[in-house]
Symmetry: C2
Subunit: 351 residues, 2 copies
């Protein structure tokens, strides 16, 4: 059985004191050349791994993390983040972690800036945020980084080398997946790629999914074609029905966000039975339409998993010095009415 070496062992082997070993390990200087060489050699020989538990014992600081995300009271998509935060809190309840959640209005830059400022004032050890507004996010991230606050982001990526970790999905792939699914269930025909909501210019996800979908059409021998269109939520019914009348060859609709249920509703209402529908996210309303076969597939972006992993990465970095990848690209889950429950069920049956 592999013996576990401690600093004490190394000190004895090198014929020096624990203090000297510590100075070598942490490169604190004030060590004679000979001692440095001897200790370094032994460290390598035995492949010394510090005991992280003991290391953290001393560190009786309460780590504070701020979560800065869109208000989940205003958009159900973010609701699962609440659960994600909750489950992390539970998981690490035995440790000294403090998580503050700040919610901003995802369509309102001022709200974002205001909450960002609150985060700055809280002076946390780390921040996990959704960078909804690219330019403003960059400013905030730089500001936080300049105060030695570790910053991670999730959901959508923005280029910034100060970011500790990004968790999300490859959205171009996501669009390709939708195309492939239509390819399988339709065989041929036109698919409408829709954005529903305000201000689609800020929704980079929409452009990437759109791009992925078209990429698939171009790169494979599919008989599919596509048409891209944006709608506001308010006038969706009139505008969409009008649009469909103008394009009677549309056989499928790909909704690029969680508002899929809004289209499903109209399909039901206007009895557009032959329209196939694929969209995003396991909101209650979407699930209803998935179960009654109005929606054929939902692509699961798993915001809960994303925030959970983002937080876990930060915590394990602080608590255990665990290495964290720059990017975590999560699997893109294809959900239909049958495997749905395997994703939504609670794992925790303690009996």
């Amino acid at each position: 059985m592999r013996k576990k070496y401690t600093i004490k062992d190394i000190a004895e082997l090198a014929g020096v004191s624990k203090g000297t070993v510590d100075r070598v390990i942490h490169k604190r200087g004030k060590v004679s050349e000979k001692a440095f060489v001897d200790v370094t050699r032994i460290l390598e020989e035995i492949d010394y791994k510090p005991n992280l538990i003991a290391r953290n014992l001393k560190n009786n600081k309460v780590y504070s993390i701020c979560v800065l995300i869109p208000d989940y009271h205003l958009d159900d998509y973010w609701l699962s983040c609440k659960e994600g935060i909750q489950s992390v809190k539970q998981e690490f309840s035995a440790f000294d972690i403090e998580i503050n959640t700040l919610l901003y209005h995802s369509k309102d830059v001022n709200s974002f800036l205001q909450k960002s400022n609150e985060v700055l004032n809280l002076k946390p050890d780390a921040v996990l945020m959704v960078p909804s507004f690219q330019k403003e996010s960059e400013t905030i991230i730089n500001l936080l980084a300049s105060q030695d606050i570790v910053v991670s982001i999730f959901n959508n990526n923005i280029p910034n080398n100060k970011i500790f970790n990004f968790v999300g999905q490859d959205l171009i792939k996501s669009g390709r997946i939708a195309a492939k699914l239509f390819d399988l269930i339709l065989g041929n025909g036109k698919v409408a790629i829709l954005y529903i909501g305000a201000n689609f210019k800020n929704a980079t996800y929409f452009h990437e999914k759109d791009q992925g979908f078209k990429e698939y059409i171009q790169q494979t021998e599919t008989a599919l074609s596509s048409v891209t269109k944006t709608f506001s939520s308010e006038n969706l019914e009139i505008e969409l029905i009008d649009f469909l009348n103008q394009h009677p060859d549309i056989k499928g609709i790909f909704v690029t966000n969680s508002k899929t249920y809004m289209v499903a509703e109209l399909i039901k209402k206007h009895k557009l039975k032959d329209l196939k529908l694929i969209g995003y996210d396991l909101l209650e309303e979407n699930i209803t339409y998935l179960k009654n076969n109005t929606i054929q597939f939902l692509i699961h972006q798993n915001a809960k998993h994303q925030i959970h992993l983002g937080l876990t990465n930060l915590i394990e970095h602080f608590m255990f010095g665990k290495k964290t990848p720059k990017r975590n690209l999560l699997p893109i889950n294809i959900i239909n009415s049958e495997n749905l429950s395997s994703y939504t069920q609670k794992e925790t049956i303690y009996e």
Copy 2:
């Protein structure tokens, strides 16, 4: 900021010594009624959570875990378990965990019994095993449990209340998912449900998937029908082609295990273009046929994730006293050629 209470704090608050508090917490007895009441009250008041890090510091034992699984040199399905074990070893490299892997021949009871005996001789703290042979597994589990060895299982479940934790998938759901996918891509027609391999009686997974598939047909308004058939790997070509000739109305094939590529091979060879194929697991060979559209969908059982979670559960139980559910039912992933890479890519881009 929430203050963090230690045993020392509680001792002071209760006007007793740390030793007394310790005795109350661990119910060791030898405490006066008054002290017991006082300390208990304070513990509840402040919602005391012991510092698990400090608790384990003392415990300089090397935890040993035995992994008992089918030989992955003989069946590629189990190959990903190797990676799973490797990644757990890396993840916990800073801790004192010793993992021994023992491989048995999955079709040979004697090999299983022999390796089980080796496990017993190793006297580990815990065992994570695949209970391939139900009766023999039960005997072994009881034997291990009687020696206070914690036993977890994964892949397939067997009823035994001594089992610490089971990780796997709901296989009836799994069969339903396959049916739903055929329903979407075929609309109607007959699907052959196949088992390929030796000794299908021991393959409980086959019966559950078969059952799930039929359940879907009965419970929904689908126009699908099914026919169930078992083949040996050896004579598959002759037997399957013969079978298909006898059933010219078969439009889809559902292979209930990872041998899906064997059917794909025949579809290619015999140019059975119109046959839709759905099967299991991301073996190299299956992936090839998924990418060239011979296989429409693969259902991902994720043995790597299963063994990873099984091991993590055990380790975190020992190291941190973390609560573990009796069962972890993992999501059932639907894989097509486009979302495949999001599952297979390595997450660890440290840059």
